[in-house]
């Protein structure tokens, strides 16, 4: 049986691109598979201020672009093809491609990342991209002079609420608790912003609209059980993430809430299969630690290959 590649990396965000950079530079027989454009969630980030080496910060797109260019400088092969399944039960790992056919490899790095959670209330799916958004950076400029609601209280929600005030006249932040989980520095900024109004202890129950898109949101106070309505033209759902694991056989490796469990060398419960970035089970999800994990994952994969021989 011929094996297609020594190493396959699945996912082209910061983790995948870093693993790809190390592998290509080490002249491994490697291919990186990505379903869309490289860059991952960083593409949806307006501005990155905490990635070391860029003292003035840079846009998420620029960082993604530079990471892609750096990996390509070492001739990393990036193939745009979605994966629909994989078999990890044998020494040779097999990936099933959406376009048909399979790719096999000796060792695998999973770096498929995560995506925003949906809130699963009436109107959410109906008005997706017509007023319901999961990315303020992408969509904020459509709300110039308008009123919008942000759902959530974490770092992303609070950072994006601030970003939205550059365009919207009024930003309601709807949070199910009476305090924020976001970091202190973000909280201070957002409390000083007079375009932002907090609605505490409240959850959304429905998103309403007409043929022009979203026109309002229905709310319920969880302490008093009181229902209310707000007229808004945009609803930004920023309530955490879920792993992109649909293509991963979760019965074949250990996971926690759908996130892949790794050891400190980024090995999963399956020999020869490593994982890095937002896909793995961990407390903190930053670009910098994704990149660090991917470095370890790639060096571990190299070590694994060397011992196969």
């Amino acid at each position: 049986m011929t094996i297609d590649h020594e190493l396959i990396i699945v996912g082209g965000g910061p983790a995948g691109l870093t693993a790809g950079l190390y592998a290509a530079r080490a002249k491994l027989d490697v291919v990186l598979l990505e379903k869309g454009a490289t860059g991952g969630q960083v593409l949806n980030t307006d501005w990155v201020d905490n990635y070391p080496g860029f003292p003035d910060g840079l846009s998420g797109f620029d960082l993604a672009d530079k990471m892609t260019a750096q990996a390509k400088r070492f001739e990393l092969e990036i193939k745009q093809t979605p994966i629909i399944g994989m078999d990890l039960k044998h020494d040779i790992k097999t990936l099933h491609l959406e376009e048909g056919g399979t790719l096999t490899c000796k060792t695998l790095i999973l770096a498929t990342g995560a995506r925003p959670n949906h809130i699963d209330i009436p109107g959410e799916a109906e008005f997706a991209a017509r007023g319901v958004s999961y990315c303020a950076t992408c969509d904020a400029p459509f709300y110039r002079g308008r009123t919008v609601a942000v759902i959530g209280g974490g770092n992303t929600a609070i950072q994006e609420a601030g970003h939205l005030t550059k365009f919207a006249d009024k930003v309601y932040v709807i949070h199910r608790r009476d305090e924020l989980r976001a970091t202190k520095i973000l909280q201070e900024k957002v409390f000083a912003n007079n375009k932002i109004e907090f609605i505490w202890d409240t959850i959304p129950t429905a998103i309403t609209g007409d043929n022009t898109g979203v026109t309002g949101i229905e709310l319920k106070n969880v302490k008093t059980d009181t229902a209310s309505k707000l007229a808004v033209e945009g609803v930004f759902v920023l309530i955490g993430i879920q792993p992109n694991n649909e293509m991963i056989p979760l019965d074949q490796l250990e996971t926690e809430n759908g996130f892949i469990i790794t050891d400190k060398e980024m090995l999963t419960s399956v020999p020869g299969v490593f994982a890095a970035g937002d896909l793995i089970s961990k407390n903190f999800r930053q670009i910098a630690n994704a990149v660090g994990e991917a470095t370890t994952a790639c060096l571990s994969a190299e070590h694994y290959l060397a011992h196969l021989k």
Binding site: K35, A37, N44, F61, A64, D65, Q80, P82, A128, S133
Partner: protein
């Protein structure tokens, strides 16, 4: 490098260049501030070359041309709309992959 097969369209010439086009037309609604829009740019260029003569590929900058995206209810980009005979045949929002766009245009 942007493909020379891509047609830039605006509010002023959208009717003429897209709705009255002889060929089926894919319009990429984008803006310079949108990271995912820029990220899919090279793929749109490739599609323009691959579908030359079969599908017209257009780009509309939504900052310069706000009316047309408003008319189609676009409040998120990148949005790609596939027009046939002046009607919306299909549309998709987000940094989609090439296979998905090809499937849309091959239908």
């Amino acid at each position: 490098m942007a493909s020379d097969k891509i047609t830039e369209v605006s509010d002023a010439d959208f009717d003429e260049k897209v709705l009255k086009a002889a060929l089926p037309t894919l319009v990429d609604f984008w803006a310079p501030w949108c990271g995912p829009c820029k990220a899919i740019g090279p793929m749109i260029d490739e599609l323009a070359d691959e579908y030359d003569g079969k599908v017209q590929i257009c780009k509309m900058n939504v900052d310069d041309s706000p009316e047309t995206p408003g008319k189609y209810g676009i409040r998120a980009i990148p949005t790609l709309i596939f027009f046939k005979d002046g009607e919306v045949a299909d549309q998709v929002t987000g940094a989609v992959g090439k296979p998905q766009l090809k499937a849309m245009m091959d239908k």
